[in-house]
């Protein structure tokens, strides 16, 4: 697999391309121009960037107003602040009032590592899942990020996109299609399925390679679209795989795993099932890599869980 650039940079490049073609594209930032890699965007299109200062509630509120007049607004701020501090603005001014703001949660999950829990966003998917009228997209690689940003510029609905700042590996080839509400299947084995989202897809893919060496055939899906969700794909995978592991850089409460479980349960699917994510506890401290390794969101960790799950399932 080839290494790409950080999704953050892929986002910023896409913004530049969009702004070149459409004067209505606006980036709105809260002292987050540098963290959002938008310094160059600001130089190229100084009239298409608005700075509001360190004021995330204002960021979202005024973005809603801008969007109501037909501007294509991308409100860009660290996901931790954007989705916690501004939650009421998101709920009322963006979603309920149906102002099509694109909320860009940068350095999401535990990307900020040792800066600690104030800077982690392990709640963002859960809280926004509980709010009506917003698409939630968690891209895994540069391709998915670019597609998600382009899609956001087109749809006339609120969109939330969250990603991290580490360089990502390319997961897709040139034939891959990206669609809202459709997961992307990276491989199709029938023993064990990894349903993963965001930066964790890569780790699931690496783990699947290890498992396959031991004869365990794997499915790997990048579930970039959390809302709307690809129920059909999930059910289809559940029908042909014996075991399933969901993986997310998010609290296990209210995230991808619980979403899958609730769908599988309601459709009466029975299979060995495991949710891997950040547990509901005082998050271990350290870098993003440390935190991933600690909670098994890593090639090694997922390999182990996968092997155990498949072996237990056979012995039953």
């Amino acid at each position: 697999m080839e290494q790409g650039i950080p999704n953050l940079v892929a986002f910023a490049e896409t913004m530049e391309a969009l702004a070149a073609k459409d004067k209505n594209i606006l980036a709105v930032t809260s002292d987050s121009r540098g963290s959002g890699k938008l310094v160059n965007f600001g130089k190229l299109y100084p009239k298409q960037i608005v700075e509001v200062g360190i004021a995330e509630q204002n960021l979202v509120g005024m973005s809603a107003g801008l969007a109501s007049t037909g501007k294509k607004v991308f409100a860009v701020s660290p996901s931790c602040f954007l989705t916690a501090r501004s939650l009421e603005q998101i709920k009322n001014d963006v979603c309920y009032s149906d102002n099509p703001v694109n909320l860009i949660g940068i350095s999401a999950g535990v990307s900020y590592g040792a800066l600690g829990s104030t800077h982690h966003s392990l709640h963002d998917i859960a809280v926004l899942r509980a709010i009506n009228n917003i698409h939630i997209i968690v891209p895994a690689d540069n391709f998915e990020t670019r597609e998600a940003i382009q899609l956001a510029a087109q749809v006339d609905k609120p969109v939330f996109i969250r990603f991290g700042k580490r360089p990502m590996y390319h997961l897709h080839n040139s034939n891959t299609k990206f669609e809202l509400g459709k997961g992307i299947t990276l491989k199709n084995g029938n023993d064990l399925a990894f349903i993963a989202t965001g930066e964790t897809v890569y780790h699931a893919y690496k783990a699947s390679e290890q498992l396959e060496k031991e004869g365990i055939k794997c499915t790997v899906v990048s579930m970039h679209s959390i809302k709307p969700f690809d129920e059909q794909l999930l059910l289809e995978v559940a029908d042909r795989c014996q075991s399933m592991i969901t993986v997310e850089e998010h609290c296990i409460n209210g995230g991808l795993g619980e979403l899958c479980a609730s769908i599988l349960m309601q459709y009466g699917k029975k299979l060995a099932f495991k949710i891997v994510g950040i547990p509901d506890e005082y998050t271990v401290t350290g870098s993003q890599v440390d935190i991933f390794n600690h909670y098994g969101i890593s090639e090694e960790g997922l390999y182990k869980v996968g092997k155990t799950l498949v072996e237990e399932n056979i012995s039953v």
């Binding site: 930032t29 600690g116 800077h119």
Partner: protein
């Protein structure tokens, strides 16, 4: 503590701040250097708080609202004996309690901060409780000037003057810079003194690197009875290291090996000057 002793301490603190930031390869350098003289005065000359009384309900409280300058706080707390300074070797490492923002897992730290715009409201609660219980502890909080854009500060500012919490002192580390640019270009908060005065605060503007002035003013008690106290401390971001002073990129810049050596050299020269003073 005498001014000369405080001056010497600040040089030692600056060395340590840079050492730990260099070691962790991360940290908020500029803002730690702009507020270290204020923390120095607070912990060595003002606050009635030490490792012995840290659990006493009567202790003074300090809440660092601009939590990102945690390196300054760590270095001072270690010096005051709240924990062994060697603990800081683990800064930002796996399972270390010493993360990039203040947490209560570290002895001496009152509140978890890091999201900007929280400290003033928390301090209001602490100060109000003192009034309820007729206690005479004081509450101090340190804010960044960029941080003032958060609306929560102004909600708290209204609340605090409404309840006449004159046992609370907010200090603004007015280094005139934030991440993106100068605060006046990002979102101007001027005229700052007049704004707080209009919100019912007693305001004093001082040189945030003048130990004598800071010691006097912070030990004064209420500037005006019945009004909360605001100290606008004019500071220089990156203070003490020539090439960092007032330079935007040092907000969270980590010095290279060469830059680090140069910084140590400058601090050694300063130390020498103070020896012969």
């Amino acid at each position: 503590m005498l001014t000369i002793e405080l001056e010497k301490k600040s040089v030692a603190y600056r060395k340590k701040i840079l050492y730990y930031i260099k070691k962790a390869n991360a940290g908020h350098t500029g803002g730690s250097l702009s507020c270290i003289d204020i923390l120095n005065v607070l912990y060595n000359n003002v606050l009635n708080v030490n490792p012995e009384n840290i659990n006493s309900p009567d202790r003074d409280r300090y809440v660092q609202s601009k939590g990102h300058s945690v390196e300054a706080l760590y270095v001072v707390l270690a010096d005051k004996g709240f924990f062994p300074v060697s603990d800081l070797e683990t800064l930002c490492q796996y399972k270390s309690h010493y993360v990039g923002h203040p947490t209560r897992k570290v002895n001496g730290i009152e509140q978890n901060t890091g999201g900007l715009g929280h400290g003033l409201a928390i301090s209001a609660g602490m100060a109000m409780s003192a009034k309820m219980d007729n206690k005479d502890y004081r509450v101090f909080t340190l804010l960044g000037d960029g941080e003032l854009a958060e609306g929560s500060n102004w909600e708290a500012a209204m609340l605090i003057s409404h309840y006449k919490l004159d046992n609370l002192t907010a200090i603004i580390d007015r280094n005139t810079l934030q991440i993106t640019d100068r605060t006046s270009n990002v979102l101007s908060n001027e005229p700052l003194a007049e704004k707080f005065a209009a919100f019912g605060w007693a305001v004093k503007e001082v040189d945030g690197h003048d130990f004598a002035v800071l010691s006097t003013i912070l030990n004064k008690g209420a500037f005006e009875k019945g009004k909360p106290n605001l100290v606008i401390a004019n500071t220089t971001k990156g203070k003490g290291i020539s090439y960092m002073e007032d330079v935007l990129k040092w907000h969270h810049g980590v010095p290279s090996d060469e830059q680090y050596e140069l910084a140590l050299k400058e601090l050694a020269e300063k130390e020498l000057l103070l020896e012969i003073k």
